[in-house]
């Protein structure tokens, strides 16, 4: 049993959600992508821009676009013109953090209706956005080695496999599941029917990571509308409540940590469970959207979220526990592996998915048994930040 934590003074609900298409190279600017997602979210909530009191923006490194103070540049596209407009930022964790940021505005009592927009446009970085990631590393100790994310995540996957005796076939099943799930998602970039053998036959990009175990480069945007209880119950037939939020940032010195287990994800999850009053997460979470930029990360994160025993998530996956019609559907959207990975937008896409799943509006992706509570999680920085949000319907 986990402890219960402090309860917020005000209840906050999601009352609308929207996405742009996720694509390898969107012809639209970041402003336009933000506009599409924000407009779709407002339309689904039955609101207009003038009803929104403040806007929150999430977007990952400015280096992708080469635009300094990217939040300022995106402000009008996101609907922030002449409004309190705020960009919070925790690297790859920003997408799920964006609801935490928006929640803060509403829960504080200063605002009743807040629009949350997450946008990412990776394609301007040529020839490949991976090059932009050199600038995330320590300028003295690490940059001279010329690292990239594929290398350090292959280190982490190796450590995870070694510690628990996991085979690469076990990891490849995540790609198979998520790319299959994404076939039912109208905004998805890379839905596919694959076999474990096909995943393992794709080229090795940094052993043990194969190309089909990595999420794609993507452009896209996502948005949700948050409202205070007194507004949400008036304008929405089925508000989806923000029941718990949590986030935690580990030390910058990632080389000093055991990469087999994401303890910062557990820290974030415990904070969110405590706020939501969840003492037995495996019974009380009915659908989960863990962060899956690499196939192994979904399993790694399910363990950090205390939803699987350490080293046992691959076994649960093989037994069908995380299938869309399994006991704990995981990434029913198709996740980053299938829908795509416009970084901040991908995190918020997971919360959009929970909104639709909990309202029973997920169409071909709908999980069975009318889930009442879902969890979304994102991860980022130097394998360092965990961000968690728990949504629920009464």
């Amino acid at each position: 049993m986990l402890p219960k934590g402090p309860r917020p003074r005000r209840r906050v609900a999601v009352v609308g959600a929207g996405l742009s298409l996720f694509a390898r190279r969107a012809l639209e600017t970041g402003k336009e992508l933000s506009y599409y997602a924000a407009s779709a979210a407002l339309e689904s909530a039955g609101l207009r821009r003038r009803d929104v009191q403040a806007v929150v923006m999430a977007s990952a490194p400015d280096a992708f676009d080469g635009v300094h103070m990217k939040g300022e540049y995106l402000s009008d596209g996101a609907g922030g013109w002449r409004k309190p407009y705020l960009r919070a930022y925790v690297g790859g964790g920003s997408g799920v953090f964006s609801i935490i940021s928006g929640w803060t505005l509403v829960a504080s009592g200063l605002f009743d209706v807040v629009l949350v927009v997450a946008e990412e446009k990776m394609s301007p970085t040529q020839p490949h956005p991976q090059a932009a990631f050199i600038s995330i590393f320590d300028h003295t100790i690490e940059r001279p080695l010329g690292p990239n994310l594929l290398w350090i995540f292959s280190l982490e996957q190796s450590r995870y496999m070694h510690t628990y005796g996991i085979a690469n076939e076990d990891i490849a099943r995540v790609s198979v599941k998520n790319k299959h799930n994404a076939l039912g998602h109208p905004a998805a970039q890379l839905g596919a029917e694959l076999t474990v053998e096909e995943v393992l036959a794709s080229e090795v990009v940094a052993w043990p990571v194969h190309r089909l175990m990595v999420s794609p480069i993507s452009d896209g945007a996502a948005a949700i509308v948050l409202a205070a209880e007194e507004v949400a119950t008036r304008i929405s037939d089925r508000p989806v409540w923000v029941e718990g939020i949590g986030w935690a940032l580990d030390t910058s010195y990632w080389g000093n940590r055991d990469l087999a287990y994401p303890r910062y994800v557990e820290d974030a999850a415990r904070m969110a469970y405590a706020m939501a009053g969840i003492t037995e997460p495996r019974k009380e979470i009915h659908v989960v959207e863990p962060y899956d930029p690499f196939a192994y990360k979904e399993l790694h994160h399910l363990e950090g979220l205390l939803l699987a025993d350490r080293g046992k998530a691959p076994e649960d996956l093989a037994n069908g526990r995380f299938d869309r019609d399994g006991p704990l559907p995981s990434c029913p959207s198709g996740g980053l592996m299938g829908v795509g990975n416009p970084i901040a937008a991908a995190g918020l896409m997971k919360l959009c998915e929970l909104y639709w799943q909990l309202r029973g509006e997920a169409g071909a992706r709908q999980v069975p048994n009318s889930p009442r509570r879902g969890l979304a999680q994102a991860w980022g920085d130097l394998m360092q930040i965990g961000t968690v949000a728990i949504l629920g319907v009464r």
Binding site: G5, R7, P8, R9, T29, A60, P61, D62, A63, D65, G66, V67, H68, M69, K70, G71, E72, Y73, S75, D76, W81, R82, K83, P84, Y85, L86, R87, A88, Y89, V90, G91, G92, F97, I100, W103, T104, L105, A107, S108, G109, L110, A132, S135, I136, D138, H139, G246, W247, A248, L249, D250, T251, S252, Y253, Y264, A268, M271, M275, D381, I385
Partner: protein
């Protein structure tokens, strides 16, 4: 509205034009150590942490990676606001108001001396499709805005020169300031043109420094004891991002931010109820625009107040810290540098520059060229 959140710990390193002896992490560590000692807490007693930073200023992408260790915030809830210092303060304030935190820390820093040509970074903030291809120096945006302001205000450049002289002199009594100097308006007008009518001495100069503020709820303060500088109201706003569509004479964002902060603080007449105005003066003319926003004046009235010497002779206390012109400019950290020295004034711990009878103060910030984003906070004495 009864204030429910206060600043209870102030940590500020003296601002300096260069700091070759310390890294940005060491600067933050020093500011954090001072703030925790001032508040009488350890970092383990802090519930949530907010840092303020922009990647391109740091030379590091996803710069929040490098913040937790020196703040004592490893494996704790840490977030970065890619925005103005007052937006960071507002975030910490709101987290406490929400009920999930009783204590919070907000941090900002500037290692401006690491940046060889800041103008080249600023140029990357211009719209890549419509504005950047013109290849103008970003200070030209300030030059254009200053020209429009002087035109609408119907005043000459003497008003802005007077701002420089006033603020640089005021900084002489602020021990945290980097650029205190006894210079006259004539000297300012004789300095080199930068982007006509903007002159070199009318642009604040860069400074290195770090600031950490500890915040707590009223309940925590009642229980634990502290000297609170109350946050009575806080607001922020963004206007038009494109150069072509924005109003050039009026700082709309600052007016909106002040209105929000005043509404929360229950302030009806700023001039009668606020004793001290710390308004952004990154460029000298901005002090006039921002003063008009703070006092709800028409365009030009701020300039005439300044020309009448009312802001210099103590009748209206404006930027007695020396402002960004006198203290030094630290990007988005500037607003929190100014908040820290203002909190010292309200507590009576401002040292040689301490004024009497300061009960309420306004800090008004701006994110600089080419943004139209700013914040405002009304602070109250213990």
């Amino acid at each position: 509205m009864e204030p429910s959140v206060a600043i209870i710990g102030i940590g500020l390193t003296p601002l300096r034009s260069v700091s070759p002896d310390v890294s940005f992490r060491e600067m933050i560590f020093e500011a954090a150590t001072r703030a925790y000692a001032d508040a009488g807490v350890t970092p383990r007693e802090i519930d949530t942490f907010v840092t303020v930073a922009e990647d391109f200023h740091e030379g590091t992408s996803i710069t929040d990676e490098y913040t937790p260790d020196q703040l004592g915030a490893v494996r704790r809830p840490v977030q970065t606001i890619a925005g103005d210092g007052l937006q960071g303060l507002a975030t910490a304030y709101m987290l406490i108001r929400s009920g999930i935190a009783e204590t919070a820390v907000v941090e900002a820093h500037s290692k401006a001396s690491n940046i060889v040509h800041h103008e080249q970074i600023l140029a990357l903030a211009l719209d890549p499709t419509f504005e950047r291809p013109r290849r103008f120096n970003p200070h030209a945006v300030a030059g254009l805005e200053m020209r429009r302001y002087l035109h609408e205000a119907g005043v000459g450049p003497e008003a802005t020169a007077r701002v420089v002289s006033k603020n640089r002199r005021a900084a002489l009594t602020n021990t945290y300031a980097a650029y205190g100097a006894d210079i006259g308006g004539d000297e300012v007008l004789a300095s080199a043109p930068l982007a006509d009518p903007l002159r070199e001495l009318e642009v604040s100069r860069y400074a290195d420094g770090a600031v950490v503020l500890v915040l707590a709820s009223a309940e925590w303060i009642a229980d634990r004891g502290a000297t609170p500088v109350w946050i009575r109201g806080i607001g922020w706003a963004t206007d038009e991002p494109s150069l072509s569509g924005r109003p050039w004479g009026t700082a709309v964002y600052a007016r909106m931010a002040c209105q929000a902060a005043y509404a929360q603080a229950g302030i009806r007449s700023a001039v009668g109820e606020i004793n001290l105005f710390e308004v952004d003066d990154t460029y000298a003319y901005k002090e006039l625009q921002h003063l008009e926003a703070a006092l709800g004046l028409e365009v030009g009235e701020g300039a005439r107040l300044t020309e009448s010497a009312r802001t210099a002779n103590g009748q209206l206390r404006v930027n007695i810290s020396g402002g960004n012109l006198g203290m030094g400019y630290g990007y988005d950290a500037s607003a929190l540098f100014r908040t820290a020295v203002t909190a010292h004034q309200l507590r009576g711990t401002a040292g040689p520059g301490q004024l009497k009878d300061i009960h309420s103060a306004l800090v008004l910030s701006w994110r600089g060229i080419p943004t139209t984003t700013g914040g405002a906070v009304v602070l109250g004495a213990p």
